[in-house]
C-alpha cells in the first residue's frame, strides 16, 4: 500500500491523533470503562430482553397478546 493511498493516510491520521492525545487518553479510558460496564455487566446481568427470555422463538406475539389481553 503506497503512502499516497487514502487508506494509508486515514490510518496515519488516526494513529498520529491517538498518539498525541493527553486529555484524550483519560477520556478514552473513561469511555471504554463505561462501555464495558454498560455492555458486559449491565446488559448481560441486569438487562436481558424480557420477551426473548420468556417467550418461545416465533411465539412472541402470542406471549405479548397473553400479557396484554389478560389485564
Amino acid at each position: 500500500m503506497g503512502k499516497n493511498n487514502w487508506l494509508y493516510k486515514a490510518f496515519n491520521f488516526y494513529r498520529d491523533g491517538f498518539r498525541q492525545m493527553t486529555l484524550g487518553r483519560t477520556l478514552w479510558a473513561i469511555i471504554l470503562i463505561k462501555l464495558f460496564i454498560i455492555f458486559a455487566i449491565l446488559k448481560v446481568f441486569f438487562f436481558p430482553n424480557y420477551i426473548s427470555t420468556h417467550a418461545e422463538e416465533g411465539k412472541e406475539s402470542e406471549f405479548v397478546a397473553t400479557k396484554i389481553l389478560k389485564q
Binding site: 486529555l23 484524550g24 463505561k34 449491565l42 424480557y50 420477551i51 397478546a65
Partner: protein, 528 residues
C-alpha cells in the same frame, strides 16, 4: 400510580418509571451542552477562519476541549434507555414495533458515522487538514449531534402523537405505513425546534459562566470578553427562539394532548377567553386562550371538561373518558375475539366483523385498561410548577442575554442608557456606569452569571418533566397505559438497578465535573 415518593414496596411500574426518568434526566445533562457548545465553538472557529488570528484558534481549541469532555461523558448513556425498553417495558417495546426502532436505528448510524468521523477531524486535524475542511468538520460535528437529536425526538414525539402507523392484530405490533408521517410529524418538528434551540441557551450560559469565572480571577480576559460577546448573541437568539417555538409547541399540545395543557395550567373548568396563571392568584387575562389557539377568545378545555366530554371550538363533540373506556374495552374484546377466532379457523366474515370493531375503536384502545376515569389525569402540581420554572427561567434568560448584549457591544445610545439605568437601580456601581468594560464589574455580577448555569439545567429538565409527566399515564398516547406497557418483573430487581444507576451516574457526573473544572483552571494555554 402517580406516587411521586416511591417506597421499596411500590410496584415494578413505579420503579421502572423512576429508573427511566433517572436515566433520561442524567442523559439530558450532557445532550444540551453538546448541542449548545457546538454552536459557540463553530462560531469561534469561523472567527479564526476569517481572521487567522491565533487567539481565535486557541479559543476554539479551548471550547472544543470542554466539548470533548462533555461528549465523552455523555456518549452511550442513552443506550441504557434502550436496555430499559427491552427489560422493563417489554410489552411496550413489542407493541410499538418497528416505528420506534427505525428512528433509533437511524440515530445510531448517523451518530456513529457522522459524529465519530467529524469529531476525529476536529480534534486530530488541526495541522493535517485545510482550515476550511477543519471548519466544516467542526460545524458538521454539531450538525451530526443535532441530527441525532432529531431522530430521538421523532421517536419521543410518536409516543405523544402516534401517526403513520397501523396496528396489526396478528403480530400485536404497530406497523409503519408512512415513514414521512412519522419522520415529519408536526409534533416532532415543534418538539425538535423547541428542544434544540433551548439547548443552545445552556451552551451560551455555560460559556458565559466559564468566562465570568476567568473575569473574576482576572485571567484569560480577552478569551472571556470575546466568548461572552458570542454567547450573548447566541443566548439572546436562542432564548427568543425558545419562546417562539415554545408557543408553537403549546399549540401542538393543546391540539393533540389537551389534558397535558390543562394539567400544566391546573385548569379544571375550561372555556373561552381563558387567562394564563403566572402563579396562583395572579393571572394574565386571555393569554392561555392565545397561547393554545392563537386567539384571545379561543376555547381551552379543563381537566373536568376532558373527563366529562365537551364540545370543541369547531362544533365536534369530544367523548367523555367513560365513553372512551367503553370503546377501549370494545377494542380489547374485539382483538381477543379476533385472535381466538383466527386460531380456531373461523370464517372470513366473522374475522372481518371483529377487525371492523377493532379498527373503529382502536383510537381508544388504551382507555379499555382504565379502571377509574381520574387515572388519566397526570400529576397536576408537577406539571404546573415545572412549566412555570421553565417559562420563568426562559424569560429571565431573554432579559439576561439582552442586557449582556447591550453591555458587551457598544450599541449607540442603548448601551449607555442601559448602564445608567442599571447604575440608578444599584445593579451597576456608579463608577462603572460610563465604562463599557465588562471585565471590571464587581465579583457578585460574575457569581450571578455562574449561578445561572444550574438554573439553565433546572429549566431544561423542567421542560422534560412537563413533556413526560404531562402525558401520564400513557406510554403511547391513548393507546397504551404504563401499567400495560410494563414487563411482569419483580419490583426489587428494578429497584436494585435503579440504585446501581444512581451510584454510577453520580460517580460519572463527579468525574466529569472534576475533569471539566481542571481543564477550565488550566485555561486555553494548555493544549491537548
Amino acid at each position: 400510580m402517580n406516587n411521586l415518593f416511591l417506597t421499596i414496596d411500590s410496584g415494578s411500574i413505579d420503579w421502572a418509571r423512576a429508573q427511566f426518568a433517572l436515566t433520561a434526566i442524567y442523559h439530558w445533562l450532557f445532550v444540551p451542552l453538546t448541542l449548545g457548545l457546538a454552536v459557540v465553538m463553530g462560531i469561534v472557529e469561523t472567527c479564526w477562519y476569517r481572521t487567522r488570528d491565533t487567539f481565535w484558534r486557541d479559543t476554539a481549541q479551548f471550547w472544543q476541549r470542554l466539548f470533548g469532555i462533555n461528549f465523552a461523558m455523555g456518549v452511550a448513556t442513552g443506550i441504557i434507555l434502550e436496555f430499559e425498553f427491552g427489560t422493563n417495558w417489554s410489552n411496550y417495546s413489542w407493541f410499538v414495533g418497528d416505528i420506534f426502532g427505525a428512528p433509533l436505528a437511524i440515530e445510531g448510524i448517523v451518530a456513529f458515522f457522522m459524529e465519530s468521523t467529524f469529531v476525529a477531524v476536529m480534534y486530530f486535524g488541526w495541522k493535517k487538514v485545510s482550515p476550511g475542511f477543519h471548519l466544516a468538520a467542526t460545524w458538521l460535528t454539531g450538525l451530526g449531534a443535532t441530527i441525532s437529536a432529531w431522530w430521538i425526538l421523532v421517536a419521543n414525539a410518536w409516543m405523544q402523537y402516534p401517526v403513520g402507523c397501523a396496528f396489526n392484530p396478528d403480530t400485536m405490533r404497530n406497523e409503519m405505513v408512512s415513514f414521512l408521517d412519522v419522520a415529519l410529524s408536526p409534533f416532532a418538528i415543534d418538539k425538535f425546534c423547541h428542544t434544540v434551540i433551548s439547548a443552545w441557551i445552556i451552551g451560551a450560559v455555560f460559556v458565559v459562566a466559564v468566562s465570568c469565572w476567568y473575569l473574576m480571577k482576572k485571567r484569560e480576559i480577552r478569551l472571556a470578553k470575546e466568548s461572552i460577546k458570542i454567547a450573548a448573541v447566541v443566548g439572546l437568539v436562542a432564548s427568543l427562539g425558545a419562546g417562539m417555538t415554545g408557543h408553537k409547541s403549546a399549540q401542538s399540545v393543546a391540539e393533540v394532548q389537551p389534558m397535558k395543557l390543562a394539567a400544566m395550567e391546573a385548569l379544571y373548568d375550561g372555556g373561552y377567553s381563558q387567562g394564563l396563571t403566572l402563579v396562583p392568584g395572579i393571572e394574565m387575562p386571555y393569554m392561555l386562550s392565545f397561547m393554545a389557539t392563537n386567539d384571545f377568545h379561543g376555547f381551552v378545555p379543563g381537566i373536568d371538561d376532558i373527563l366529562n366530554g365537551y364540545t370543541k371550538a369547531d362544533g365536534t363533540e369530544e367523548p367523555s373518558v367513560e365513553e372512551k373506556i367503553i370503546r377501549g374495552k370494545m377494542a380489547i374484546n374485539a382483538l381477543a375475539a379476533y385472535r381466538k377466532s383466527k386460531a380456531e379457523g373461523a370464517a372470513e366474515p366473522v374475522l372481518t366483523q371483529q377487525l371492523l370493531t377493532l379498527n373503529e375503536n382502536m383510537p381508544y384502545f388504551g382507555y379499555g385498561y382504565v379502571k377509574d376515569k381520574n387515572d388519566v389525569v397526570p400529576p397536576v402540581w408537577i406539571n404546573f410548577w415545572a412549566f412555570r420554572i421553565m417559562v420563568g427561567a426562559g424569560c429571565l434568560f431573554i432579559l439576561f442575554f439582552a442586557v449582556l448584549c447591550i453591555m458587551s457591544f457598544k450599541i449607540p445610545y442603548l448601551s449607555i442608557i442601559t448602564r445608567r439605568l442599571l447604575a440608578t437601580v444599584g445593579i451597576l456601581p456608579e463608577t462603572q456606569a460610563d465604562s463599557n468594560d465588562i471585565a471590571a464589574l464587581p465579583a457578585w455580577h460574575y457569581w450571578l452569571a455562574i449561578l445561572l448555569l444550574p438554573l439553565a439545567y433546572i429549566a431544561s429538565e423542567s421542560g422534560w418533566l412537563v413533556a413526560e409527566f404531562g402525558r401520564q399515564p400513557w406510554t403511547i398516547q391513548d393507546m397504551l397505559p404504563t401499567w400495560v406497557g410494563v414487563s411482569d418483573i419483580e419490583s426489587c430487581s428494578v429497584a436494585l438497578t435503579f440504585f446501581l444507576f444512581l451510584f454510577l451516574f453520580t460517580l460519572m457526573l463527579c468525574v466529569e465535573i472534576n475533569i471539566m473544572l481542571k481543564q477550565i483552571k488550566k485555561g486555553p494555554g494548555h493544549k491537548n
